[in-house]
């Protein structure tokens, strides 16, 4: 053993080196967030709770085609579709719509599948509850989420190449002939 390694061993040089490093770190900027007080800025692409969307003029987008139900890998969507005839114009919609949030894996496949972009994922993530039943989102709740977080859902659709941010999105809309909301 040379003198050098002897001193290295006696003075625990490696520990001192490591301590120097950790000491330096007490002066770097903190990277943690104090969660309930500070919140993370979520990116547009974030896959949060699902919401159903309205068109700008307040018409429900969903036409009750069931494709989201078929696409869901965890089988947590249930759609009951209906149609009615108003002034001789056929209109299709979902009479009931359930998403079981306890089973949802937030994959976004339902959004990808929807042919009218009726579903959107929002940045909502704080909806924990003591009542498990209330995690089965029904149609009014989904439309409420979609309404309150419309901008998030829109940003999500744009970020995931589901919808364009420009006017052409409006042109793609499926309109039933001469149907307007009463």
């Amino acid at each position: 053993m040379t003198i050098r390694t002897f001193f290295k061993n006696v003075f625990f040089q490696e520990i001192l080196k490591a301590l120097k490093l950790t000491f330096k770190h007490s002066f770097v900027k903190e990277v943690t967030l104090q969660y309930p007080h500070q919140k993370l800025q979520l990116p547009d692409a974030h896959r949060g709770a699902l919401g159903l969307l309205y068109y700008d003029d307040g018409v429900e987008r969903c036409v009750g085609c069931d494709l989201c139900q078929a696409a869901c890998p965890s089988h947590c969507i249930r759609v009951v579709s209906g149609e009615d005839q108003e002034n001789g114009v056929l209109r299709r919609f979902a009479t009931e719509f359930y998403i079981d949030m306890t089973k949802c894996v937030f994959c976004g496949f339902c959004v990808e599948a929807c042919p009218v972009n009726a579903l959107g994922m929002t940045k909502l993530y704080e909806y924990s509850t003591a009542n498990k039943r209330s995690l089965i989102f029904d149609k009014p709740r989904l439309y409420e989420v979609g309404k309150n977080y419309y901008n998030d859902a829109k940003a999500y659709l744009v970020a995931h190449n589901q919808e364009k941010a420009d006017e052409s999105a409006e042109a793609w809309r499926y309109r039933f002939p001469s149907f307007t909301k009463q």
Binding site: E14, C107, P115
Partner: protein, 404 residues
């Protein structure tokens, strides 16, 4: 080595009545990385037999795959090895593409390679932090998780989720890089080598950590091969086998990089390999980003690949395919294929038997963690009971993948 030592010690003992002790370790032990139980037979403090008991996290994923379409199975692969979801996605979509003989666009290959390497860094960071924590070095854990967090934020930006990513698609990827993501990755890659040196400072000189890793969980090259080990666990014994080199996929053959190899086949060598792999990964990522070609990120193959949304809106045919693909899936040709991918733990393989139709007839996952546990008894024999934590840590086991 360890066994002969054990015998020597046995001989020198005075004639006392000794008996073997059976200890159950786990399934709730914090260092078993999930729910693994090991039945240890001890003689004094020496392990003479260890028997892993698996299945506490069995969810029947392979069976589940038979009931849903190929495309729908992608989110389920996230939950195999929940530390490295991207790699599972990658391995799975590669297997399906091989079954379909589908060609992926160039840009998609590069994007896939970049993200796979980012995921490899995350996996190794996670391993390093938790392994050091198991041994008692807590600081490393905080430092590695700090960097891991940066990468997970990139994932969040890219696909909308940090862990359960589902970003890979059959025929490409779900979403292209935005300029912000490219910038973030460049920035990370520039900083990261200095961070690796930090971890090195904390560990490789530390004599306690060295004493607990050098010579622990030794396996010889022949044994490693015959147990079917792969990844850093195999390369630690000096066997030069990396699927990225042996059967290149993605853009791995278009960039310069080396396969780091160990000599001694112990935990320290595996540590060394993982550190070097992180350095190599940064190089791969940097080169891929520099070379990133223009072009589509998803193949245009209407019968198989889900059509782009703007086509669905404007084109009746795409709309019909959209409905067909999401309800029945594509019609896969009958046959069976195996496709292995080098994940950060080892070779992650998917074996698919198809009898035509949209669902696999049988899907088998060759999970590296599962195969590695087969060698556990062999590698743990003769060591002290305090070393068992290191021996667990040496493979980088994730039980979600092991039990499936």
């Amino acid at each position: 080595m360890a066994e002969s030592q054990l015998l020597e010690e046995k001989k020198s003992l005075p004639l006392l009545r000794t008996e073997e002790l059976l200890v159950n370790m786990g399934p709730q032990h914090p260092s078993t990385h999930g729910v693994l139980k090991v039945v240890l037979t001890l003689e004094g403090e020496r392990i003479i037999k260890s028997e892993p008991v698996l299945g506490f996290l069995h969810r029947g994923v392979e069976k589940l795959a038979e009931t849903i379409t190929y495309h729908q199975f992608i989110p389920h692969t996230d939950r195999l090895d929940y530390v490295c979801a991207m790699y599972n996605n990658f391995a799975y979509v590669r297997a399906v593409e091989k079954l379909l003989a589908l060609k992926v666009p160039d840009r998609a290959e590069y994007l896939r390679t970049i993200i796979a390497e980012v995921q490899r860094i995350i996996g190794h960071l996670f391993w390093l932090g938790s392994q050091a924590l198991d041994i008692g070095a807590m600081t490393v854990f905080f430092y590695t998780f700090r960097e891991r967090e940066l990468l997970l934020d990139i994932f969040d930006d890219l696909c909308g989720a940090r862990l359960t990513t589902s970003w890979y698609r059959i025929g490409g990827v779900e979403r292209d890089f935005t300029p912000k993501i490219i910038d973030d990755i460049y920035k990370f890659v520039a900083d990261f080598p200095s961070k690796i040196d930090e971890y090195d400072t904390l560990l490789v000189n530390n004599r306690i950590w060295l004493a607990r890793t050098k010579g622990i969980a030794y396996i010889s090259a022949e044994d490693a091969v015959s147990f079917g080990l792969s990844g850093p666990t195999l390369r630690g014994s000096g066997v030069d086998y990396d699927l990225r080199k042996v059967a290149p996929y993605g853009a791995y053959d278009k960039v310069e990089w080396k396969v780091p190899l160990g000599k001694n086949g112990d935990t320290y060598d595996r540590y060394y390999i993982r550190m070097e792999e992180m350095r190599e990964s940064t190089k791969i990522i940097k080169q891929c980003l520099d070379q990133l070609p223009e072009g589509p990120y998803l193949a245009y193959e209407p019968k198989v690949v889900i059509p782009a949304k703007d086509r669905v809106f404007t084109d009746m045919e795409s709309m019909i395919y959209q409905f067909r693909l999401f309800t029945n899936g594509f019609n896969a040709p009958p046959g069976d294929i195996y496709c292995g991918t080098e994940a950060h733990k080892g070779e992650l393989g998917f074996y698919i038997v198809s009898r035509g139709g949209g669902k696999p007839y049988r899907l088998k996952i060759r999970a590296p963690s599962f195969i590695h546990l087969g060698a556990f008894d062999h590698m743990a024999k003769g060591y002290m009971i305090a070393d068992i934590v290191t021996i667990f840590g040496t493979y980088d086991i994730v039980m979600g993948e092991c039990d499936r």
